[in-house]
Amino acid sequence: MSDRLSFTLRINGAEHELTLDPRVTLLDALREHLHLTGTKKGCDQGQCGACTVLVDGRRINSCLTLAVMHEGDEITTIEGLGTPDNLHPMQQAFLDRDGYQCGYCTPGQIMSAVAVLDEIGRGVPSHVTANICAAPPLTDEEVRERMSGNLCRCAAYPNIIAAIRDVSGGAA
């Protein structure tokens, strides 16, 4: 047993006091200690994207980072994106487009999708960006490449792309 550490995490705008073993990942802190179970554990090794959350507005795999490393950061989970009565446009689009089947990967897909549109808006290039010096275009190809860190074993990919394109302003 490691010595426990006391620290504060700011999640979805609220402060949470925690006393945890330093081995606890951000993912396990969210799910097991704060009971924010919207963020899912899939592979627990950074390959599936089910655990995607935003830290200071940027998407990361919460399974590959320690909770204690995020003292002072602004963490956003699927619970902070929207509520059942007031869905985020990306959540609504996934519903409208049936962008899931079993739903397990969906919170991670949605968090990643929100960040993808932000990244394209900020001009972050991707592997499929033809002119790396220009603003990346908003195409299906770009969205697909940027979403490759989120797996969906039900293969809802076509409807996930459609949902993201709805939010981004329609087909190219």
Binding site: S2, P22, R23, G49, N61, T65, S148, G149
Partner: protein
């Protein structure tokens, strides 16, 4: 995961003092280290968190190059306008690796220090000289279709997994290192990664009491810059073969390769595809599973040069 103690460093000298204790390791992005710690392959007794040291600036150098802080995240390095314009091969290599989530966390220094993805290094039930020195190499005679053909030894045939490092190698980057007592030294990237020989567990010339503080790029190489990566799926996979190229007038000026060797593999050859391919493949030692990499290297190089000629023709 084995228990460890944790502390957060606030400055480089502070961090170097903290890492001097037995079993201590730095953690930055953590995307590779924590994965290995969960599997028991890495088991530090103490973690020194260096994420709050700063070291996250990209600044011009006096000679017209660029100095990249050790903690600049892969996403931010690839998105930097100077990198995209003047060191396109680096931006291209960065976005061909990992996923968006991982690139947001992974750092410049951590990317250089990542461990191999050899399946036998990851499988703690199997012998591996890199993970457990002297235990043997299960990859030799095992399933080796994605392992190395160049620079390997009878003790280890693992490859270095980084795309970024291949681009840094073709650009002749320098690794800036801080050591105890204010010591500073610069390591050319050619001398940073070691070949396995009979000590595959020693992967770099960085000492355990040292820390990378920056990576420096010389003034832009110009020419047309290409990074072409061949992998087993279209995205988010390690290279079977990759090539970082600088071309001029339809000829290869500089070339470095990934997916073939325990370090980014630069070849001292230029000119036509066959000349460069012959030079890089001289001394190749493929296994029965990965002889395909000989042809694939030649074809990847040819395709990358064709890409470059198309770019050269675009005004």
């Amino acid at each position: 995961m084995k228990a460890f103690s944790y502390e957060r460093a606030t400055g480089v000298d502070d961090a170097l003092e903290m890492v001097a204790q037995p079993g201590a390791k730095f953690i930055a992005g953590g995307t590779n280290l924590l994965d290995l710690m969960k599997l028991g392959i890495e088991a530090p007794a103490h973690l020194v968190d260096i994420n709050r040291l700063g070291l996250d600036a990209i600044e011009p150098t006096e000679d017209g190059g660029l100095r990249i802080g050790a903690l600049v995240r892969n996403t931010d390095l690839a998105a930097d306008l100077r990198v995209r314009r003047d060191y396109a091969v680096l931006a291209r290599a960065l976005v061909s690796g990992a996923s968006g989530q991982l690139r947001n966390k992974a750092t410049t220094a951590g990317n250089l220090l990542q461990r191999t993805r050899c399946p036998y290094f990851y499988n703690t039930d199997m012998p591996c000289n890199k993970r457990s020195p002297g235990s043997g190499c299960a990859a030799i005679g095992g399933l080796s279709h994605n392992l190395g053909i160049l620079g390997t030894s009878d003790a280890c045939i693992a490859t270095h997994a980084s795309d970024m490092a291949v681009a840094l190698r073709v650009l002749d980057a320098t690794i800036e290192v801080a050591g105890p007592g204010g010591a500073r030294r610069a390591i050319p990237i050619a001398e940073f990664h070691r070949l396995p020989g009979d000590t595959p567990h020693i992967e770099t010339t960085l000492q355990s009491n040292e820390m990378i503080v920056a990576v420096t790029l010389p003034p832009p190489a110009g020419g047309t810059q290409i990074y072409r990566k061949v992998r087993e799926r279209a995205s988010y996979a390690f290279a079977s073969v990759s090539v970082a190229l600088v071309t001029r007038h339809g000829q290869v000026e500089r070339a470095a390769f990934g997916g073939l060797a325990p370090k980014p593999w630069r070849v001292d050859a230029s000119g036509a595809v066959d000349d460069v391919a012959d030079a890089v493949l001289a001394g190749a030692r493929p296994t029965p599973d990965n002889g395909y990499k000989l042809d694939l290297t030649r074809r990847t190089l040819a395709t990358a040069l064709a890409d470059a000629m198309r770019l050269e023709a675009t005004p």
